[in-house]
């Protein structure tokens, strides 16, 4: 019963989301697109985090997708819509190749290496003047769908839907068991038949593909990019803060965090043009120090307390009551 209720709620939410352009103006749709982009990045970051690997390279794959898409259209004459799929593929293939090397690394070494890779991508785009336009970047002759606000919104929503679908599959399939086992105890995982490298590679390639796809959607919607906008550190920072705030190791946590922080940041951007990002830094610090399981973790704890000893949740619905305090 509980599951059916959740499906109905999700369907209603999706219908409302799809219908948004009917009653929202251009500016709110623009804000919605920005929130959805960050939401997709936050969810994809969390998907890899479920294996215990912290990526600081979201912006790297996002930027890579941006450039792959815009250059495919500009230099290869590819159809803009097709170029989004192409960019996702490029990001996935790059992640696949890199994965063989960097997925041997753990903890801080993995994190720092992803950060370094992002810098490498940025420097390459900066320096390939003839191909990538160098520091000034590249501009498309026209934006996809002729810049129609509703169409751009639906495109972004589509990207988000694919991401959430992938994350949902991660939660419902045996991937969840594999990634959680790897995060908790690699030795135990190995002696129970889990091919650690294979599952890390799957998670890394899938999340990189999603990030590349969102980069492509972004660049097609704005019609231009430069190394500094494509590889903007905010594309790493904001999703990370959003996922942490909402609650990591779940799909719904990062989504909630993205809605809260995304809307808050739009407002703050107007109020404090310089330094509104300080809010993100402070949120990260507060979450780590006082609520490591995020808002959803807090809510769950409150429900558990209110519910007393007869705690809810059943073995047939493992995913939503997953996260206990460490």
């Amino acid at each position: 019963m509980k599951i059916r209720g959740a499906y109905i709620a999700a369907a209603v939410a999706a219908a409302i989301m799809i219908a948004f352009p009917a009653f929202l103006g251009a500016y709110p749709l623009n804000v919605a697109r920005s929130v959805m982009t960050y939401m997709a990045l936050a969810v994809s970051w969390d998907m890899l985090l479920r294996s215990g690997q912290i990526s600081f390279g979201i912006a790297g794959l996002f930027g890579l997708g941006s450039y792959a898409s815009i250059l495919a259209v500009l230099r290869g004459g590819m159809d803009p819509l097709l170029s989004i799929a192409f960019a996702a593929l490029v990001a996935g293939l790059v992640a696949f190749a890199l994965g063989f090397a960097i997925l041997r690394l753990r903890a801080m070494y993995f994190s720092i290496t992803t950060l370094a890779l992002m810098e490498i991508f940025r420097i390459i785009m900066h320096n390939l003047h003839d191909f990538s336009g160098g520091p000034e970047g590249v501009v498309l002759p026209e934006v996809i769908f002729g810049g129609d606000a509703s169409a751009l919104y639906w495109l972004c929503l589509g990207g988000l839907a694919v991401t959430i679908g992938a994350s949902w599959y991660f939660e419902r399939s045996k991937l969840r068991l594999a990634l959680t086992a790897i995060r908790n105890d690699e030795t135990s995982a190995r002696s129970n038949g889990i091919d650690i490298f294979k599952y890390l590679l799957v998670a890394f390639v899938v999340t990189s593909t999603l990030q590349g796809m969102m980069g492509a959607i972004q660049v097609q919607s704005y019609g231009f990019t430069t190394p500094d906008t494509a590889f903007d550190a905010n594309f790493t920072l904001l999703p990370l803060a959003m996922a942490l705030l909402g609650g990591i190791h779940s799909t719904i946590g990062p989504m909630a965090g993205a809605v809260l922080l995304g809307i808050a940041s739009e407002w703050l951007k107007l109020k404090i043009p310089y330094g509104h990002l300080v809010v993100y830094g402070v949120i990260i610090i507060i979450v780590i120090l006082f609520m490591p399981n995020g808002l959803f973790g807090l809510a769950r704890k409150a429900i558990r307390k209110a519910g007393g000893a007869g705690s809810p949740g059943s073995a047939s619905n493992g995913s939503d009551a997953e996260e206990g305090a460490r």
Binding site: T187, N192, S314, A315
Partner: protein
């Protein structure tokens, strides 16, 4: 043919030889005791045959097949399972899911099939409350959960590394019964590392004795325990 055998198995860590030229075999349906003083290399030996560590030299065969350098996850799929001396629960998975892991990844079962088989195994071991977090389990329950997870791999060879440690005498008795029953029903070869000699005497048909990485004696417990080299090893360790 032996279920599992090693020839000249050796593991050296920069200078220190933890396992030195050990050759042994385990047969179907047998419970083998692996004993020796602290630091004799018993756990390292199990790490080697289960693939958690790779040997420096020597050979490991599983049912006649060379598995010396096979990665751990592939060995568990072939049928070599184990538990750990220090507990290794997967704390972000429920008890049942902990057990399911073995069935899903070693046996390639679907989640539904794995759930059924895990429930069956837990039932057999008398482990209830499968919807709990591992943090809520007693030490006996965690040990049972880890045995259940190993059994969900449907192994032909199972190593139990000090599963009785930390249990009181009633629990130990219960655990001896459990191990004997699961070994008998499945015709597995079971290797048991224990420090409590009473457990070894009651549970095993045969023991091997390791000292400083070398195999120094082999045979039924009654015989081995009278072997002067074994007595020397234990007394020497105590002195």
């Amino acid at each position: 043919m032996s279920k599992l055998s090693t020839t000249g198995l050796t593991k050296a860590f920069s200078g220190l030889v933890a396992v030195n030229d050990v050759s042994f075999a385990m047969e179907e349906g047998e419970i083998l005791g692996i004993i020796g003083p602290n630091g004799a290399g018993k756990t390292t030996f199990i790490h080697l045959v289960s693939g958690i560590l790779m040997p420096s030299s020597g050979r490991i065969e599983f049912k006649g097949r060379d598995v010396t350098y096979l990665p751990a996850h592939e060995r568990s799929r072939l049928g070599i399972a184990r538990t750990y001396q220090l507990i290794h629960p997967l704390e972000n998975l429920k008890v049942l899911e902990n057990v399911m892991v073995g069935a899903v990844f070693s046996r390639g079962k679907s989640l539904r099939e794995a759930r059924l088989s895990a429930e069956g195994i837990c039932d057999e071991l008398g482990l209830g409350g499968l919807d709990r977090d591992t943090a809520q389990l007693s030490i006996l329950e965690i040990k049972k959960m880890e045995i259940a997870r190993a059994l969900a791999n449907e192994p032909e060879v199972l190593f139990l590394d000090e599963v009785m440690a930390g249990l009181n005498s009633d629990e130990t008795k219960q655990m001896i019964e459990t191990v004997r029953r699961i070994a008998g029903e499945r015709r597995m070869a079971v290797g048991v590392v224990e420090h409590v000699m009473g457990v070894i005497r009651e549970l095993t048909q045969r023991v091997i004795v390791l000292e400083a990485g070398e195999l120094i004696a082999e045979g039924p417990y009654e015989k081995v325990s009278k072997d002067p080299r074994v007595i020397e090893a234990y007394l020497g360790g105590a002195a």
